[in-house]
């Protein structure tokens, strides 16, 4: 296999027209219907309007369905420009996996560890993609962790947001999809869930990488807390 280069990867990320319509149909029609009617995912939309240009979506990660559900909230005209960032070591393991990740999920595969030789620096690649007007879907926890426990965020989102202060970061909190498709299972059993889309965050140019990472994490944690509070019986009130 030839060594990957930034230019080759950027060329790879361009979506021909035919696949653009396939992606639109898959996510805005098919998956949207499956999530809404079959799985019963409730969408809680942001109050602010969706930004027009490139965006970094970040979300907590507990299920393979997470990336699919995030693709359904991307505006139709940007669906071919939006890429989930996925792990090369897991999704690139077989030819079928990497083919479907590229063609059906529109994902970009990056290496998680530093030990893989001949690999390009993921941050440099993602940075170049943002500069070319692509949007990214990041799961800063790095892996599907334990449901209900948010792992520490990797600093990738901080690196990218600090290099692009003009690109908004949209935090998304996902609850309950891990019931429908838990880690390590292959059978999908619909059990509902909630997707909370937050208002876009923007960071001034001088914000440090760690501060951005921390603020992004805090935004998602706040959304988690709000969702928990929403349906509790107040101690003085009645059901």
């Amino acid at each position: 296999m030839p060594a990957r280069t930034i230019d080759a990867e950027l060329f790879n990320a361009r979506v021909p027209n035919g696949r653009r319509w396939l992606l639109w149909f898959l996510y805005k029609v098919l998956w949207r219907t499956v999530f809404g009617l079959v799985i019963g995912l409730r969408y809680v939309w942001a109050k602010a309007p969706h930004p027009d240009g490139p965006v970094i979506y970040i979300a907590n990660h507990n299920s393979h369905l997470d990336a699919m559900s995030l693709m359904t909230i991307v505006p139709s005209h940007r669906i071919h420009l939006t890429h989930s960032v996925a792990a090369q070591d897991f999704f690139g393991r077989s030819r079928f996996r990497s083919w479907s990740m590229k063609h059906l999920v529109n994902a970009v595969l990056i290496s998680r560890g530093k030990e893989e030789r001949d690999e390009i620096d993921p941050i440099v690649l993602l940075d170049a993609m943002l500069r070319q007007g692509h949007s990214l879907i990041l799961f800063p926890e790095g892996t599907r962790g334990v449901p209900g426990v948010m792992a520490d965020f990797k600093r990738g989102v901080g690196h990218l947001a600090s290099r692009h202060p003009d690109i908004p970061v949209i935090p998304v909190y996902l609850d309950g999809l891990y019931r429908t498709l838990p880690k390590g299972r292959t059978l999908i059993v619909p059990f509902g869930g909630t997707l909370v889309m937050g208002d876009p965050l923007s960071f001034p140019a001088e914000t440090s990488i760690d501060a951005i990472t921390e603020k992004a994490r805090l935004a998602i944690e706040t959304m988690e807390q709000d969702l928990l509070e929403e349906n509790k019986i107040p101690s003085s009130d009645s059901p």
């Binding site: 019963g40 409730r42 059978l187 059993v189 059990f191 509902g192 349906n231 009645s238 059901p239």
Partner: protein, 320 residues
Amino acid sequence: MNKLIEAWSVNAEVQWVILIILCILVCSSLAWNVWNFLKPGKLVKELLVRTRSWWIMCACFVATTLAHPVVTVIGLAFLSYALLREMYPLLKLDQRERNVALLCYAVIPVQYALAYLGMTTLFLAFIPVFMFVAIPFMLVVRGETKGIVRSISLMPYSLVAWVYGMSHLAMLFNLPELPGFTAGPQGLLLYFIFLVGINDVLQFAWGKIIGQRAVLPNVSPNKTWEGLVGGVLSVTLIAVALRFLTPLEAWEAAFTGFCVAVAGFMGDAIASGIKRDLGIKNSGNAIPGHGGYLDRLDGFSTAAAPFFHLIYFFGVTAAG
């Protein structure tokens, strides 16, 4: 083609009830908006949100009822499915029992198909006889017995409460031809939906206006004796007034209305008890202002089977 048009045509009785529903919705929307304009408050805000949801629900109910019976049955089956899907995670039946939960979902299309095809005996026996044994056995087959008593109790309960009961509404399409009865199954279905819906609204309204003493203070402090009695009496009267949708005599309609109202209240109370134990206010957030599917459909699913049997008894058995 003619046959298709015939199947889609709406008879005079059904047109009347749609007009009544429309009037109620328009009047209440107007009233709340005026009230909100004059004196904004928390209660009127809630009423506005609730009424907006009622508009959408009524539109869905009426459209599904007027469509071809297949569409109506699929719509009812979807409500059962939405109830199970909403309640299983709340009842913590989503972890080890997920394969059996999938089996429970699969029961829904079978049960509604039996209703649609009019296989009455099998329809009546499928869930409470066969699935009552099959589901616990499937739970046992997994080989894991920890917490199994809970799942064995809850899963058949969920099927009877939210699938079996609701599926009786699909059975209305298989009533035999009744002499002098022209409103048809669609009329009966709208009659039932109207009664249960207005029952919820009136019990809420009577309770808010003159409610003093709580019926079940530890379960649902918002339900009062005044609301219950006022609601049941009003619904009984409405049931008599709307009996042109049914094959019933005046006193039979009154009895049916009374039973539907009481059963609706019981379903509501049972759901409140379940929610209280689970420590949640609503079963979900699918319907703004109302909560989840269970919050809205608790009365429907409980009153459906009694309603069907009363119609069958008065309309078919007693009429000879």
